[in-house]
Symmetry: C2
Subunit: 276 residues, 2 copies
Protein backbone atom coordinates (compact mmCIF):
# COMPACT_ATOMS: atom_id res chain seq x y z
CA UNK A 1 0.00 0.00 0.00
CA UNK A 2 1.31 3.41 -1.01
CA UNK A 3 1.25 5.95 1.83
CA UNK A 4 1.28 9.73 1.46
CA UNK A 5 1.88 11.92 4.50
CA UNK A 6 0.14 15.28 4.76
CA UNK A 7 2.56 18.15 4.02
CA UNK A 8 1.89 19.57 7.46
CA UNK A 9 0.92 17.30 10.34
CA UNK A 10 1.64 16.41 13.92
CA UNK A 11 3.37 18.30 16.71
CA UNK A 12 2.83 22.03 16.82
CA UNK A 13 5.02 24.66 18.43
CA UNK A 14 3.05 24.69 21.70
CA UNK A 15 3.18 20.91 22.13
CA UNK A 16 6.91 20.70 21.33
CA UNK A 17 7.58 23.44 23.85
CA UNK A 18 5.47 21.74 26.54
CA UNK A 19 7.17 18.37 26.08
CA UNK A 20 10.62 19.96 26.31
CA UNK A 21 9.57 21.68 29.53
CA UNK A 22 8.23 18.41 30.96
CA UNK A 23 11.34 16.45 29.98
CA UNK A 24 13.53 19.03 31.69
CA UNK A 25 11.51 18.80 34.94
CA UNK A 26 11.86 15.13 35.84
CA UNK A 27 9.43 14.07 38.55
CA UNK A 28 7.15 17.01 37.91
CA UNK A 29 3.39 16.69 38.18
CA UNK A 30 1.10 17.97 35.44
CA UNK A 31 -2.34 19.26 36.42
CA UNK A 32 -4.44 17.22 33.97
CA UNK A 33 -2.70 15.54 31.01
CA UNK A 34 -0.02 17.79 29.48
CA UNK A 35 -1.34 17.10 25.95
CA UNK A 36 -4.20 15.00 24.59
CA UNK A 37 -2.16 11.91 23.73
CA UNK A 38 -2.17 8.97 26.13
CA UNK A 39 0.85 7.24 24.60
CA UNK A 40 3.03 10.32 24.89
CA UNK A 41 1.84 10.86 28.47
CA UNK A 42 2.87 7.25 29.24
CA UNK A 43 6.29 7.87 27.68
CA UNK A 44 6.81 10.99 29.82
CA UNK A 45 5.89 8.96 32.92
CA UNK A 46 8.11 5.99 32.07
CA UNK A 47 11.14 7.94 30.81
CA UNK A 48 10.97 11.14 32.88
CA UNK A 49 8.82 10.33 35.91
CA UNK A 50 6.34 13.05 34.99
CA UNK A 51 2.95 12.09 36.45
CA UNK A 52 -0.59 13.46 36.11
CA UNK A 53 -2.85 14.74 38.89
CA UNK A 54 -6.41 15.71 37.96
CA UNK A 55 -7.32 18.03 40.81
CA UNK A 56 -5.41 20.94 42.28
CA UNK A 57 -6.64 19.93 45.77
CA UNK A 58 -4.96 16.51 45.53
CA UNK A 59 -1.50 17.83 44.66
CA UNK A 60 1.07 17.09 47.35
CA UNK A 61 2.19 20.37 48.96
CA UNK A 62 5.48 21.65 47.62
CA UNK A 63 5.29 19.86 44.28
CA UNK A 64 6.82 21.04 41.03
CA UNK A 65 3.67 21.55 38.99
CA UNK A 66 3.59 21.74 35.20
CA UNK A 67 0.62 23.58 33.66
CA UNK A 68 -0.77 21.70 30.65
CA UNK A 69 -0.69 23.14 27.09
CA UNK A 70 -4.44 23.89 27.29
CA UNK A 71 -3.99 26.19 30.28
CA UNK A 72 -5.96 26.02 33.53
CA UNK A 73 -8.74 28.12 35.11
CA UNK A 74 -7.66 31.34 36.81
CA UNK A 75 -8.77 30.10 40.26
CA UNK A 76 -6.68 26.95 39.96
CA UNK A 77 -3.66 29.07 39.08
CA UNK A 78 -4.25 31.19 42.18
CA UNK A 79 -4.42 28.06 44.38
CA UNK A 80 -1.26 26.67 42.77
CA UNK A 81 0.60 29.89 43.47
CA UNK A 82 -0.18 29.27 47.16
CA UNK A 83 0.59 25.56 47.35
CA UNK A 84 3.17 24.60 44.73
CA UNK A 85 6.91 24.71 45.26
CA UNK A 86 7.43 25.70 41.65
CA UNK A 87 5.10 26.32 38.72
CA UNK A 88 6.28 25.49 35.21
CA UNK A 89 3.89 27.13 32.78
CA UNK A 90 3.57 25.01 29.63
CA UNK A 91 0.39 26.80 28.52
CA UNK A 92 0.62 27.25 24.76
CA UNK A 93 1.21 30.98 24.06
CA UNK A 94 -1.59 30.79 21.50
CA UNK A 95 -3.96 29.81 24.34
CA UNK A 96 -2.74 32.59 26.62
CA UNK A 97 -3.94 35.02 23.94
CA UNK A 98 -7.71 34.29 24.12
CA UNK A 99 -7.39 34.18 27.93
CA UNK A 100 -6.01 37.73 27.96
CA UNK A 101 -8.55 38.93 25.38
CA UNK A 102 -11.43 37.63 27.53
CA UNK A 103 -10.00 39.34 30.59
CA UNK A 104 -9.54 42.73 28.91
CA UNK A 105 -12.70 42.71 26.77
CA UNK A 106 -14.97 41.73 29.67
CA UNK A 107 -13.40 44.49 31.76
CA UNK A 108 -14.19 46.93 28.94
CA UNK A 109 -17.85 45.87 29.07
CA UNK A 110 -17.98 43.56 26.07
CA UNK A 111 -20.08 40.42 26.36
CA UNK A 112 -17.75 37.47 25.75
CA UNK A 113 -18.67 34.81 23.19
CA UNK A 114 -16.37 31.79 22.97
CA UNK A 115 -16.58 29.50 19.98
CA UNK A 116 -15.55 26.11 21.28
CA UNK A 117 -16.37 23.05 23.37
CA UNK A 118 -17.44 24.02 26.88
CA UNK A 119 -16.09 20.69 28.21
CA UNK A 120 -12.61 21.15 26.76
CA UNK A 121 -9.95 22.20 29.29
CA UNK A 122 -8.69 25.00 27.03
CA UNK A 123 -12.17 26.55 26.87
CA UNK A 124 -12.67 26.17 30.63
CA UNK A 125 -9.43 28.03 31.15
CA UNK A 126 -10.34 30.80 28.70
CA UNK A 127 -13.85 31.18 30.19
CA UNK A 128 -12.43 31.71 33.66
CA UNK A 129 -10.72 34.92 32.55
CA UNK A 130 -13.99 36.67 31.68
CA UNK A 131 -15.23 38.87 34.51
CA UNK A 132 -18.83 38.48 33.24
CA UNK A 133 -20.59 35.21 32.35
CA UNK A 134 -19.39 34.21 28.86
CA UNK A 135 -21.51 32.41 26.26
CA UNK A 136 -19.84 29.28 24.85
CA UNK A 137 -21.18 27.78 21.62
CA UNK A 138 -20.21 25.17 19.06
CA UNK A 139 -22.50 26.56 16.31
CA UNK A 140 -24.59 29.65 15.47
CA UNK A 141 -27.76 27.64 16.21
CA UNK A 142 -26.88 27.64 19.90
CA UNK A 143 -27.06 31.44 19.87
CA UNK A 144 -30.76 31.50 18.97
CA UNK A 145 -32.59 32.85 21.97
CA UNK A 146 -29.36 33.96 23.67
CA UNK A 147 -29.53 37.39 25.29
CA UNK A 148 -26.94 39.21 23.22
CA UNK A 149 -25.66 42.63 24.19
CA UNK A 150 -24.97 45.49 21.75
CA UNK A 151 -21.21 45.09 22.08
CA UNK A 152 -19.76 41.58 21.97
CA UNK A 153 -16.26 40.15 21.64
CA UNK A 154 -15.72 36.80 19.96
CA UNK A 155 -12.76 34.44 20.39
CA UNK A 156 -12.23 30.89 19.23
CA UNK A 157 -10.80 27.77 20.79
CA UNK A 158 -7.40 27.59 19.08
CA UNK A 159 -8.08 24.26 17.37
CA UNK A 160 -11.39 24.89 15.60
CA UNK A 161 -12.26 25.10 11.90
CA UNK A 162 -12.24 28.63 10.46
CA UNK A 163 -15.45 28.04 8.43
CA UNK A 164 -17.40 27.25 11.58
CA UNK A 165 -15.91 30.28 13.35
CA UNK A 166 -17.04 32.48 10.46
CA UNK A 167 -20.56 31.08 10.81
CA UNK A 168 -20.72 32.24 14.44
CA UNK A 169 -19.13 35.58 13.52
CA UNK A 170 -21.70 36.20 10.75
CA UNK A 171 -24.58 35.40 13.10
CA UNK A 172 -23.33 37.98 15.59
CA UNK A 173 -22.61 40.70 13.01
CA UNK A 174 -26.25 40.54 11.92
CA UNK A 175 -27.51 41.01 15.46
CA UNK A 176 -25.07 43.21 17.37
CA UNK A 177 -24.04 46.81 16.80
CA UNK A 178 -20.36 46.01 17.38
CA UNK A 179 -18.65 42.66 17.14
CA UNK A 180 -14.99 42.56 18.01
CA UNK A 181 -13.63 39.43 16.43
CA UNK A 182 -10.31 37.93 17.45
CA UNK A 183 -9.20 35.12 15.18
CA UNK A 184 -7.48 32.99 17.82
CA UNK A 185 -7.39 29.84 15.72
CA UNK A 186 -3.70 28.92 15.71
CA UNK A 187 -1.70 28.75 12.51
CA UNK A 188 -0.58 25.17 13.10
CA UNK A 189 -4.22 24.09 13.31
CA UNK A 190 -4.99 26.00 10.15
CA UNK A 191 -1.97 24.62 8.26
CA UNK A 192 -2.62 21.01 9.33
CA UNK A 193 -6.26 21.38 8.30
CA UNK A 194 -5.38 22.79 4.88
CA UNK A 195 -2.90 19.97 4.23
CA UNK A 196 -5.44 17.32 5.35
CA UNK A 197 -8.15 18.88 3.14
CA UNK A 198 -5.80 18.73 0.18
CA UNK A 199 -4.52 15.19 0.75
CA UNK A 200 -7.95 13.69 1.48
CA UNK A 201 -9.05 14.64 -2.04
CA UNK A 202 -6.36 12.58 -3.74
CA UNK A 203 -6.30 9.29 -1.81
CA UNK A 204 -8.62 6.29 -1.37
CA UNK A 205 -8.45 6.15 2.41
CA UNK A 206 -7.35 8.59 5.12
CA UNK A 207 -5.91 7.67 8.50
CA UNK A 208 -5.79 10.33 11.19
CA UNK A 209 -3.51 9.46 14.08
CA UNK A 210 -4.25 11.21 17.35
CA UNK A 211 -5.90 11.24 20.74
CA UNK A 212 -9.66 10.71 20.83
CA UNK A 213 -10.01 13.66 23.24
CA UNK A 214 -7.92 15.94 21.06
CA UNK A 215 -10.00 18.76 19.59
CA UNK A 216 -7.68 19.46 16.65
CA UNK A 217 -7.54 15.74 15.80
CA UNK A 218 -11.35 15.55 15.73
CA UNK A 219 -11.43 18.57 13.39
CA UNK A 220 -8.97 16.80 11.07
CA UNK A 221 -11.30 13.77 10.95
CA UNK A 222 -14.27 16.01 10.16
CA UNK A 223 -12.39 17.73 7.31
CA UNK A 224 -11.15 14.43 5.83
CA UNK A 225 -14.67 12.97 5.94
CA UNK A 226 -15.89 15.86 3.76
CA UNK A 227 -13.76 14.57 0.90
CA UNK A 228 -12.97 10.93 1.68
CA UNK A 229 -15.67 8.69 3.17
CA UNK A 230 -13.06 6.15 4.25
CA UNK A 231 -11.43 8.28 6.94
CA UNK A 232 -10.57 6.78 10.31
CA UNK A 233 -9.28 8.19 13.59
CA UNK A 234 -6.87 5.91 15.47
CA UNK A 235 -4.74 6.41 18.56
CA UNK A 236 -1.96 4.12 17.30
CA UNK A 237 -1.19 1.33 14.84
CA UNK A 238 -2.89 -1.31 17.01
CA UNK A 239 -6.28 0.17 16.07
CA UNK A 240 -5.74 -0.25 12.32
CA UNK A 241 -8.07 -2.79 10.68
CA UNK A 242 -6.49 -4.39 7.57
CA UNK A 243 -9.98 -4.83 6.06
CA UNK A 244 -10.32 -1.06 5.65
CA UNK A 245 -7.58 -1.22 3.02
CA UNK A 246 -9.09 -3.89 0.74
CA UNK A 247 -9.17 -2.68 -2.88
CA UNK A 248 -7.53 0.64 -1.92
CA UNK A 249 -4.42 1.89 -3.72
CA UNK A 250 -3.28 4.98 -1.86
CA UNK A 251 -3.59 5.86 1.81
CA UNK A 252 -3.20 9.38 3.18
CA UNK A 253 -1.93 9.87 6.72
CA UNK A 254 -2.17 12.90 8.93
CA UNK A 255 -1.85 13.43 12.67
CA UNK A 256 -3.08 15.81 15.33
CA UNK A 257 -0.90 18.48 16.90
CA UNK A 258 -0.33 16.26 19.97
CA UNK A 259 0.61 13.10 18.09
CA UNK A 260 4.33 12.28 18.42
CA UNK A 261 6.40 11.40 15.38
CA UNK A 262 7.18 7.91 16.73
CA UNK A 263 3.50 6.97 16.63
CA UNK A 264 3.11 8.37 13.10
CA UNK A 265 6.13 6.37 11.91
CA UNK A 266 4.73 3.10 13.28
CA UNK A 267 1.34 3.79 11.69
CA UNK A 268 2.94 4.49 8.30
CA UNK A 269 5.12 1.35 8.47
CA UNK A 270 2.14 -0.82 9.37
CA UNK A 271 0.01 0.52 6.50
CA UNK A 272 2.89 0.14 4.02
CA UNK A 273 2.87 -3.57 4.88
CA UNK A 274 -0.75 -3.98 3.74
CA UNK A 275 -1.44 -5.37 0.27
CA UNK A 276 -4.61 -3.30 -0.49
CA UNK B 1 -53.52 44.14 -13.04
CA UNK B 2 -53.39 43.29 -9.35
CA UNK B 3 -50.77 45.27 -7.43
CA UNK B 4 -49.19 44.28 -4.12
CA UNK B 5 -47.12 46.80 -2.19
CA UNK B 6 -44.14 45.61 -0.16
CA UNK B 7 -44.94 45.60 3.59
CA UNK B 8 -42.09 48.02 4.17
CA UNK B 9 -41.01 50.45 1.48
CA UNK B 10 -40.18 54.06 0.73
CA UNK B 11 -39.19 56.95 2.96
CA UNK B 12 -37.00 56.14 5.92
CA UNK B 13 -36.59 58.10 9.13
CA UNK B 14 -33.52 60.01 7.90
CA UNK B 15 -35.16 61.09 4.64
CA UNK B 16 -38.39 62.19 6.35
CA UNK B 17 -36.35 64.20 8.84
CA UNK B 18 -34.28 65.84 6.07
CA UNK B 19 -37.32 66.83 4.03
CA UNK B 20 -39.01 68.37 7.08
CA UNK B 21 -35.83 70.37 7.77
CA UNK B 22 -35.68 71.54 4.14
CA UNK B 23 -39.36 72.50 4.07
CA UNK B 24 -38.91 74.55 7.21
CA UNK B 25 -35.93 76.45 5.73
CA UNK B 26 -37.45 78.05 2.64
CA UNK B 27 -34.84 79.45 0.26
CA UNK B 28 -32.11 77.30 1.77
CA UNK B 29 -29.36 75.80 -0.38
CA UNK B 30 -28.43 72.13 -0.14
CA UNK B 31 -24.84 71.15 -0.80
CA UNK B 32 -25.45 68.40 -3.37
CA UNK B 33 -28.96 66.96 -3.70
CA UNK B 34 -30.65 66.48 -0.30
CA UNK B 35 -31.72 62.93 -1.22
CA UNK B 36 -31.28 60.78 -4.32
CA UNK B 37 -34.65 61.54 -5.90
CA UNK B 38 -34.82 64.13 -8.69
CA UNK B 39 -38.60 64.53 -8.58
CA UNK B 40 -38.63 65.27 -4.85
CA UNK B 41 -35.74 67.71 -5.29
CA UNK B 42 -37.79 69.47 -7.99
CA UNK B 43 -40.79 69.64 -5.63
CA UNK B 44 -38.66 71.19 -2.87
CA UNK B 45 -37.40 73.78 -5.35
CA UNK B 46 -40.84 74.60 -6.76
CA UNK B 47 -42.77 74.61 -3.49
CA UNK B 48 -40.13 75.77 -0.97
CA UNK B 49 -37.44 77.51 -3.03
CA UNK B 50 -34.80 75.07 -1.79
CA UNK B 51 -32.04 74.90 -4.42
CA UNK B 52 -28.97 72.72 -4.93
CA UNK B 53 -25.34 73.83 -5.18
CA UNK B 54 -22.75 71.18 -6.00
CA UNK B 55 -19.60 72.81 -4.71
CA UNK B 56 -18.89 74.47 -1.37
CA UNK B 57 -16.75 77.08 -3.16
CA UNK B 58 -19.70 78.26 -5.29
CA UNK B 59 -22.03 78.90 -2.36
CA UNK B 60 -22.94 82.57 -1.99
CA UNK B 61 -21.43 83.92 1.25
CA UNK B 62 -23.90 84.09 4.10
CA UNK B 63 -26.26 81.42 2.75
CA UNK B 64 -28.45 79.13 4.82
CA UNK B 65 -26.90 75.77 3.90
CA UNK B 66 -28.62 72.43 4.37
CA UNK B 67 -26.34 69.39 4.66
CA UNK B 68 -27.69 66.46 2.62
CA UNK B 69 -28.84 63.17 4.23
CA UNK B 70 -25.64 61.47 3.02
CA UNK B 71 -23.42 63.85 4.97
CA UNK B 72 -20.45 65.75 3.54
CA UNK B 73 -16.66 65.46 3.86
CA UNK B 74 -15.12 66.87 7.03
CA UNK B 75 -13.16 69.55 5.11
CA UNK B 76 -16.32 70.82 3.42
CA UNK B 77 -17.98 71.10 6.82
CA UNK B 78 -15.03 73.14 8.09
CA UNK B 79 -15.27 75.50 5.10
CA UNK B 80 -19.03 75.85 5.59
CA UNK B 81 -18.55 76.77 9.23
CA UNK B 82 -16.45 79.71 7.98
CA UNK B 83 -18.64 80.88 5.12
CA UNK B 84 -22.28 80.00 5.78
CA UNK B 85 -24.72 82.19 7.67
CA UNK B 86 -26.41 79.14 9.09
CA UNK B 87 -25.86 75.40 8.77
CA UNK B 88 -28.85 73.05 8.93
CA UNK B 89 -27.53 69.54 9.40
CA UNK B 90 -29.84 67.03 7.70
CA UNK B 91 -27.22 64.28 7.79
CA UNK B 92 -29.03 61.05 8.64
CA UNK B 93 -28.08 60.09 12.21
CA UNK B 94 -27.37 56.56 10.92
CA UNK B 95 -24.70 58.09 8.65
CA UNK B 96 -23.16 60.16 11.45
CA UNK B 97 -22.47 56.84 13.23
CA UNK B 98 -19.97 55.34 10.72
CA UNK B 99 -18.35 58.82 10.43
CA UNK B 100 -17.70 58.86 14.19
CA UNK B 101 -16.56 55.23 14.21
CA UNK B 102 -13.99 55.97 11.47
CA UNK B 103 -12.73 58.99 13.38
CA UNK B 104 -12.30 57.15 16.70
CA UNK B 105 -11.04 53.82 15.32
CA UNK B 106 -8.41 55.44 13.10
CA UNK B 107 -7.24 57.51 16.08
CA UNK B 108 -6.92 54.27 18.05
CA UNK B 109 -4.66 52.85 15.32
CA UNK B 110 -7.11 50.59 13.53
CA UNK B 111 -6.90 50.41 9.74
CA UNK B 112 -10.29 51.50 8.39
CA UNK B 113 -12.11 49.31 5.87
CA UNK B 114 -15.33 50.73 4.41
CA UNK B 115 -17.72 48.44 2.60
CA UNK B 116 -19.42 50.66 0.03
CA UNK B 117 -19.23 52.61 -3.20
CA UNK B 118 -16.24 54.99 -3.21
CA UNK B 119 -18.13 57.35 -5.55
CA UNK B 120 -21.18 57.63 -3.32
CA UNK B 121 -21.40 60.89 -1.32
CA UNK B 122 -22.14 59.03 1.92
CA UNK B 123 -18.94 57.01 1.57
CA UNK B 124 -16.90 60.07 0.65
CA UNK B 125 -18.15 61.73 3.81
CA UNK B 126 -17.41 58.69 5.99
CA UNK B 127 -13.91 58.27 4.47
CA UNK B 128 -12.99 61.84 5.30
CA UNK B 129 -13.30 61.13 9.03
CA UNK B 130 -10.51 58.53 9.01
CA UNK B 131 -7.17 60.01 10.05
CA UNK B 132 -5.34 57.30 8.06
CA UNK B 133 -6.02 56.28 4.44
CA UNK B 134 -9.08 53.99 4.48
CA UNK B 135 -9.65 51.05 2.12
CA UNK B 136 -13.02 51.17 0.35
CA UNK B 137 -14.35 48.00 -1.30
CA UNK B 138 -17.54 46.71 -2.85
CA UNK B 139 -16.55 43.01 -2.54
CA UNK B 140 -13.97 40.76 -0.82
CA UNK B 141 -12.24 40.27 -4.19
CA UNK B 142 -11.07 43.87 -4.08
CA UNK B 143 -9.17 43.10 -0.88
CA UNK B 144 -6.87 40.57 -2.58
CA UNK B 145 -3.42 42.09 -2.58
CA UNK B 146 -4.42 44.88 -0.18
CA UNK B 147 -1.91 45.61 2.58
CA UNK B 148 -3.98 44.69 5.60
CA UNK B 149 -2.84 45.53 9.11
CA UNK B 150 -3.20 43.25 12.13
CA UNK B 151 -6.00 45.37 13.61
CA UNK B 152 -8.76 46.55 11.30
CA UNK B 153 -12.16 48.16 11.81
CA UNK B 154 -14.94 47.54 9.33
CA UNK B 155 -18.02 49.73 8.71
CA UNK B 156 -20.64 49.59 5.99
CA UNK B 157 -22.37 52.16 3.85
CA UNK B 158 -25.80 52.30 5.53
CA UNK B 159 -27.69 51.09 2.46
CA UNK B 160 -25.85 47.89 1.54
CA UNK B 161 -26.94 44.25 1.63
CA UNK B 162 -26.00 42.39 4.82
CA UNK B 163 -24.94 39.23 2.91
CA UNK B 164 -22.30 41.19 0.99
CA UNK B 165 -21.11 42.89 4.18
CA UNK B 166 -20.68 39.46 5.79
CA UNK B 167 -18.56 38.37 2.81
CA UNK B 168 -16.12 41.22 3.41
CA UNK B 169 -16.19 40.57 7.17
CA UNK B 170 -15.36 36.88 6.68
CA UNK B 171 -12.47 37.70 4.37
CA UNK B 172 -10.97 39.99 7.00
CA UNK B 173 -11.49 37.61 9.94
CA UNK B 174 -9.43 34.99 8.11
CA UNK B 175 -6.53 37.38 7.58
CA UNK B 176 -6.36 39.79 10.51
CA UNK B 177 -5.71 39.16 14.19
CA UNK B 178 -8.50 41.52 15.25
CA UNK B 179 -11.44 42.70 13.20
CA UNK B 180 -13.74 45.19 14.84
CA UNK B 181 -16.99 45.00 12.94
CA UNK B 182 -19.63 47.70 13.20
CA UNK B 183 -22.87 46.76 11.52
CA UNK B 184 -23.82 50.21 10.28
CA UNK B 185 -26.40 49.01 7.76
CA UNK B 186 -29.55 50.88 8.80
CA UNK B 187 -32.69 49.09 9.91
CA UNK B 188 -34.89 50.77 7.30
CA UNK B 189 -32.61 49.43 4.56
CA UNK B 190 -32.72 45.97 6.13
CA UNK B 191 -36.52 46.01 6.58
CA UNK B 192 -37.19 47.27 3.04
CA UNK B 193 -34.84 44.61 1.65
CA UNK B 194 -36.53 41.80 3.61
CA UNK B 195 -39.98 42.91 2.45
CA UNK B 196 -38.79 43.15 -1.18
CA UNK B 197 -37.18 39.70 -0.97
CA UNK B 198 -40.43 38.25 0.32
CA UNK B 199 -42.75 39.98 -2.17
CA UNK B 200 -40.56 39.27 -5.21
CA UNK B 201 -41.05 35.55 -4.62
CA UNK B 202 -44.84 35.68 -4.93
CA UNK B 203 -45.46 37.97 -7.92
CA UNK B 204 -44.94 37.80 -11.70
CA UNK B 205 -43.27 41.17 -12.08
CA UNK B 206 -41.58 43.60 -9.66
CA UNK B 207 -41.41 47.36 -10.06
CA UNK B 208 -38.91 49.27 -7.93
CA UNK B 209 -39.57 53.01 -7.83
CA UNK B 210 -36.58 55.17 -6.97
CA UNK B 211 -33.69 57.33 -8.06
CA UNK B 212 -31.13 55.74 -10.39
CA UNK B 213 -28.31 57.14 -8.21
CA UNK B 214 -29.85 55.83 -5.02
CA UNK B 215 -27.75 53.08 -3.45
CA UNK B 216 -30.58 51.50 -1.46
CA UNK B 217 -32.83 51.48 -4.54
CA UNK B 218 -30.16 49.67 -6.56
CA UNK B 219 -29.86 47.06 -3.77
CA UNK B 220 -33.63 46.52 -3.89
CA UNK B 221 -33.39 45.86 -7.64
CA UNK B 222 -30.56 43.40 -7.10
CA UNK B 223 -32.54 41.50 -4.42
CA UNK B 224 -35.72 41.40 -6.53
CA UNK B 225 -33.78 40.10 -9.55
CA UNK B 226 -32.62 37.12 -7.45
CA UNK B 227 -36.20 35.87 -7.26
CA UNK B 228 -38.08 37.57 -10.10
CA UNK B 229 -36.41 37.99 -13.48
CA UNK B 230 -38.98 40.60 -14.52
CA UNK B 231 -37.85 43.31 -12.10
CA UNK B 232 -37.53 46.90 -13.28
CA UNK B 233 -36.18 50.09 -11.71
CA UNK B 234 -38.09 53.24 -12.68
CA UNK B 235 -37.88 56.83 -11.48
CA UNK B 236 -41.61 57.45 -11.96
CA UNK B 237 -44.70 56.16 -13.80
CA UNK B 238 -43.62 57.71 -17.13
CA UNK B 239 -40.90 55.06 -17.42
CA UNK B 240 -43.34 52.14 -17.17
CA UNK B 241 -43.64 50.08 -20.38
CA UNK B 242 -47.07 48.42 -20.70
CA UNK B 243 -45.48 45.56 -22.68
CA UNK B 244 -43.66 44.40 -19.52
CA UNK B 245 -47.04 43.42 -18.09
CA UNK B 246 -48.33 41.23 -20.95
CA UNK B 247 -49.48 37.83 -19.61
CA UNK B 248 -48.66 38.84 -16.03
CA UNK B 249 -51.24 38.54 -13.25
CA UNK B 250 -49.71 40.12 -10.17
CA UNK B 251 -47.26 42.99 -9.90
CA UNK B 252 -45.22 43.73 -6.76
CA UNK B 253 -44.18 47.30 -6.04
CA UNK B 254 -41.49 48.56 -3.72
CA UNK B 255 -39.63 51.86 -3.45
CA UNK B 256 -36.29 53.17 -2.24
CA UNK B 257 -35.87 55.08 1.01
CA UNK B 258 -35.81 58.38 -0.91
CA UNK B 259 -38.93 57.76 -3.02
CA UNK B 260 -41.87 59.93 -1.94
CA UNK B 261 -45.29 58.42 -1.40
CA UNK B 262 -46.84 60.59 -4.15
CA UNK B 263 -44.62 58.94 -6.79
CA UNK B 264 -45.42 55.46 -5.43
CA UNK B 265 -49.17 56.20 -5.58
CA UNK B 266 -48.97 57.30 -9.22
CA UNK B 267 -46.95 54.21 -10.14
CA UNK B 268 -49.47 51.92 -8.44
CA UNK B 269 -52.46 53.63 -10.09
CA UNK B 270 -50.85 53.39 -13.55
CA UNK B 271 -50.07 49.68 -13.16
CA UNK B 272 -53.59 48.96 -11.85
CA UNK B 273 -54.88 50.36 -15.16
CA UNK B 274 -52.98 47.74 -17.19
CA UNK B 275 -54.84 44.65 -18.41
CA UNK B 276 -51.94 42.16 -18.12
Amino acid sequence: MKVKLADKHGFCFGVKRAIKLAESHQGGITLGPLIHNKKEIERLKNDFGVTVEESVENLPRGSEVIIRTHGIPKDDLAKLTQSAEKIIDATCPFVTKPQKICEIMSQEGYQIIIFGDINHPEVQGVMSYSSSEPIVVMSPKELFGAKLKEKVALVSQTTKKIEDFLGVASFLVQRCAEVRIFNTICNATFDNQEAARHLSQEVDIMIIAGGKNSSNTKQLLSICLEHCQDSYLIEDESELDPQWFTNKKTCGVTAGASTPEWIIERVVRTIEGYKG
